[in-house]
Every structure is written in C-alpha cells, then in structure tokens.
Symmetry: none
Subunit: 184 residues, 4 copies
DNA sequence: GATGAATGAGTCTTCATTCAT
DNA sequence: GATGAATGAAGACTCATTCAT
C-alpha cells in the first residue's frame, strides 16, 4: 500500500493525474495491476488515499497546528511557507493533487481534505493579520493568498538550490505585500 | 477551422485538455472527425492553433503593445490586468491553455507562444517599475507576477458580477504589493 | 448493425450470455471492438437490440396477431407452437435470450419485451380455452404454459428431423393435457 | 469442505454459476481462496461436488428409491414431485445446477449425475404409466416430463406460501395431463 | 475537400488460480 | 493444512487517428 502510494506520487508527478495509468503505477510499485486493485478500487481512490497521506504527514509534522498568534506577518509567513515548501519538495505528486489552481472535477472530491488543511492555515494567517475584515472578505483574502501559494509551488519545486530559495523569498514577499495591502 | 477552434475552446474549458476528446470537438464544430484531422494533425496541434489564435487576438486588441511608460504602478496594473481578465472571461478555453500553473508536458510546446505574450507584458511592467534589478532578478520577478496572475485567473473566471470585480481588485492588490516589495 | 446482431446471436447461442465476449462478437461480425461500440454502448444493449429484433421479426411474421378465436385447443396450439418452434430454430441465440426458465438479472430488462410478446400469446390461448378462470388463475395458468414451452425449446432446437417433430408433438400434447386439466 | 459447498450453493443461488466468483464463495465459507483451492481444483469442481452432494442427499432421503409400482399416476406424481419441490426449496443452489433447461457446456459434465438421478425417477414413472411405449418413446417422454419439471422449478422456488402450493398443483396437473396423453 | 465508419492499441478493472510463508 | 497476498491473462470499453468513398 505504501509502495502503491509512493509509485502513484511519482507517476502523478511525472505525467499528471489524467495521463497516469494504473498499470504504470502498479509497475512502478513493483506489482501487478491485480494487486494494486486489492488495495484501491479505482484510480480516484489512489489519489484520495495519496491526498490523505499528505494530510496525515502534514499533521504529523505539526503543520496544521502551527501557532500563529502574537507573531509579526513576516514570522507568520516563515512558519507556514517554509514547511509548505519543504513538504512539497519532499513529496513529489503533492503538487499534482494540491497545487493545481483549477482542480479538475474528478480530483475535486479526492483532494478536498488536502485543500482544507492548507486552506485552514491560510485562513488562520488571514484572521491573525486582518482581523478587521468581514468574514466574506477574510474568506476571499484567504483564497487569494492560497492561489498565490499554489501558483508558486510548481516553479519552486522545479527549481533547486539558491534559485529555489530565491523563489520562496519572492513568494513570501508576495504574500506579505498582499496581506499588508488587504488589511486596509 | 474557426469552428474547430471555437469548439475546442469550449470543450477544453468544460473538461480540460486531457479529457477533451477530438470527437467531441468535431461534433461541437458540426463536422466529422475526419474533417477535423484535415486541418489539424493531432490533438496537440489543435491546442497549439488555439493558443496561437489567443495570441493573435491579444495582438489585435493591442494587448502586446500596451504602453507602459510613465505610469504609476497602479495605472500599469489596470492597463494589463483589466484586459487580461476581460480576455480570459471572453475566451473560454484560454484558462485551460494558459492559466495552469504547472503546464503538462504535452501542452508546454503548444502553449509556449501564449505564455510568452503575457510574460513579455509582465516583464515590461517589471522593467518599468523595478529598473534597478538585475536581469535575473527581473526575470524571476516577472515569473512570480505571472504565476500570481495565473493562480487568480480560474477563480476570477468562475466568479461573476461583484465577486469577480472584487477578486480582480485583490489580484491587483497582490501584484501591487509584490511589485512594491520586490523593487527593493 | 445487422452483422453485429447476427454475430451476437451466434455467440450467445454457442456460449450463453455471460461467457459471450464483445470481442468475440466483434470478431465474428468481421469488425473491430471499437466498431461494435459505435452501435451498442455495452453488451447488454446488444442483447436488448437482439431481443428487439426477435420481437420485430415475430411481429413481421404475424406471430403477435395470430387469431385465436373460435378454434379448438389443438388448432390453437398448432397455430402458436409451430411458428414459435420455427422461429426458435431459425434464430439461433433466441433460446439464450428467451428460453431460460430462470432469467439472470442482467438480461431481465433487456429481454422483457421478448418475454412479453410470447406471454401475451400464451395468455390469449389461456383466455380462449379457460375463460372461466379468475384473472389470477389465468395468469398462473399462462405462466405454467409458458414455462413448459420454454423448457421444451432447447431440446427441440437441438434436435433435428423427425426427432424434432416428435418433440414438438410432445410439447403440444403437454400443453393440451395441461390446458385441458387446468380448465376445471 | 462442507462450508465451501454451503457457500457455493448460496452464491450460485444468488448470482448464477458464471457470475459467482470463487473469492465470494471462499469469503462466504469463512476461509481464504487458497484454502478453497486445497479442496477443489477449480470452480467447475465445486459445482461438480455440489451436484454430487445434492445427489447424495437425494439418495439419503430415499428419492432415488421411491417405489413407483402399483400406484395411480396422481399418487406417483405426489411421491416424486413433492420431495423434488421440497428438496429444491430446501437447497438453494440446486436450481442453478439442475433446473436450467439449457445447461451451459461448462456445467454439463459437472451436473450430469444430478440430472441422471432425477431422470431415472422420471423414467421410472414413465415406465410405470406408459409401459406400452418403445424405449425411444419412453426416453423422449421422460425427457419431456423432466423439462416440464425443470421449467417449473424456478417459479416454484421463487414463490411462497399458497402461491407455491398452487404452482406445484399446476405442475402436477401438467405432468398428469401430459403423461395421460402420452400413453396413447 | 469532406465524410464518418472503422480501427486497434491501450485503459481500467476483474477474477480464477497460485505459492511462499 | 491454512493463508491471503499476488498474479496476469482477459474482459468491457474508449478514443486518437485513418482512409476508402
């Protein structure tokens, strides 16, 4: 099961969700298609399980309980963005399930929990740094911040070394700039 | 040929690139698959031609020659973002070809010119508002601004009325915030 | 489409419904599986269409309008059984769709119209020769007569020459005997 | 082994022979597929063993030694049909193996002994009530009687209470009517 | 140039069967 | 003897692409 999710992560990362075939995932997992289907009833279930594993790992790393109170915006962003980036770099396939800015219908249900985890962190940031906004405005603000992050994940993951760091710094600048402006 | 591209735009918009079938495109275009293949050798060629048409339309609307000199950042953004949004709203399949923050391999070549047109405008903005940066930094800065815009296009296109306007305003805020910060 | 139904009739006749594969049907029809699926969305649809064709042929042969009034029971049976047998002999595959005394769930819907055509004829006979029975009793009586006929079709179709004729004669005897007794 | 046959009987009854999966049988038997295959080399062997068990049970109940001499036809039928019905009602998968009027090739060999037991009883009846017929005619007559019974078993097993009794009475009427006529 | 039926490789999925433990 | 995970061939079905008309 672990092997399947590892393989799926790789294949999703390489080809994307639609072009990924269950046979390719099985082969990469070193098993037959029949074995794969003993664990997952269909391709979407694999994506859902993979998304759940990402959620669990985020939870294990404390991502969803990051304290956000009493910090400056810059500190806040460090605490959220750094682990988010680390996580995306360490987990191929995550960007396929998470960082698509326009999730295809078939993946929507499967990846909902994953989107929720990150969303809730972003919402926490927004609530912390823009408490004066109405609920609607906060929600929109969080959406925007999330889309910015999603937009930056792919180039960040693709980059390496200093360039990656530079891009992460830019992402933080972008969020900092946006959230500062949004708080008006 | 126009009918094919119109149809492809619709089908791409509704289903995404991979799930879109050439038969569905042909049917929507009111022709047979055979006819479709007399104009385009394969599915990717349709995407490429559609991307080219978007480029041409952008050119026709003057998007790629928008004057960017001697304006405040806010004015600059208005001049770029408003037509970009208008264009994406008016052209269904555009977001499928353009606003994916992590373009699948198969689409990369086909949509390159499209990405270039928008890129060059963003680069112009960056050059105008952050002339002090090195070429490398300007390029990175432009990339970030582009990814932010790409990230926001899908929710903007999906939204309607005041919510869409609000999201556009947020996008401008985000870019304004980022470009202001980046210029340091 | 005619070729497909012909092929399906053969394959159903040879193997039965479940073991019949759509690829085998396509091959026997001299076409590729893809072509077959341009006409029928799935295997059940083939069975349904084949059943419909049997219904149409029965209709064309006047089976469903056989006059049943003012005849002796023996004459009645001749008028119904002879064409029913001829029909089953001439149409391989019919017995697979029709003469199973315990129709599998998947075929039930597809073959309903077929069962109805024959049922209605049997009901007409019953109504003609046992007018004194209640509706419930007539229905049961017709069911029994139908099951007797279904039971005899396979051996009749398998037999040839005089043996077939002899079996048909026995079927008529059986129905005659039953309907005579039932009318009490 | 008993558990396997019990399970197989249930699964065959619920789904029919082809759609019944060996895994489902193993699961219902509370064992692993591997264990199942330690007793039976393949699916057909399960059917064969189940058929044999039905034969043994029939034997144990004295079905195959029912005395048939010196009885009226009506008494004869009571002595054969009642236990046959009781037996089919009490033994789920039996109708799947026995009461198909057109046995699929794969089951033919496996269920041969089962068909023989009932056949021999029917032949005894025929011999008793139509001693004047030639061997060929007696065989045909027995076949017809058998097919009539097979045809009626499924609706009888499906029915309950009085309706079942009514159908059994009709079956007897049918056989009585047929055998009376056949004796000419 | 247009057609649309035909293609067939390839996809997801199932299941009878095996075998290392 | 029991297990149950693993197998892989095969089935239903899809779709980008072709080609005879």
């Amino acid at each position: 099961m672990v092997a399947i999710l590892d393989a799926a992560a790789d294949v999703f990362a390489e080809r994307g969700y639609e072009p990924a075939t269950t046979n390719a995932i099985a082969a990469k997992a070193g098993m037959s298609p029949g074995s794969l289907y003993q664990f997952f009833g269909n391709k979407e279930a694999i994506a859902a399980a993979l998304a759940e594993r990402f959620v669990a790992r985020m939870h294990a790393s404390g991502f969803d309980t990051i304290d956000v109170t009493g910090l400056s915006l810059a500190e806040l962003l460090d605490r959220i963005i750094d682990p988010l980036v680390t996580f995306n770099v360490a987990n191929p396939g995550l960007k396929t399930l998470f960082a698509s800015t326009d999730t295809p219908e078939k993946l929507a249900a499967a990846t909902l929990p994953l989107h929720r985890v990150v969303s809730s962190r972003v919402e926490a940031i927004v609530a912390a740094c823009a408490p004066g906004l109405s609920a609607t405005d906060q929600a929109r603000c969080a959406l925007v911040a999330l889309q910015i992050a999603k937009g930056m994940i792919p180039p960040i993951v693709s980059a390496t070394g200093q360039e990656r760091e530079a891009l992460v710094a830019e992402l933080k600048k972008a969020l900092h700039g946006y959230l500062t402006q949004a708080n008006v």
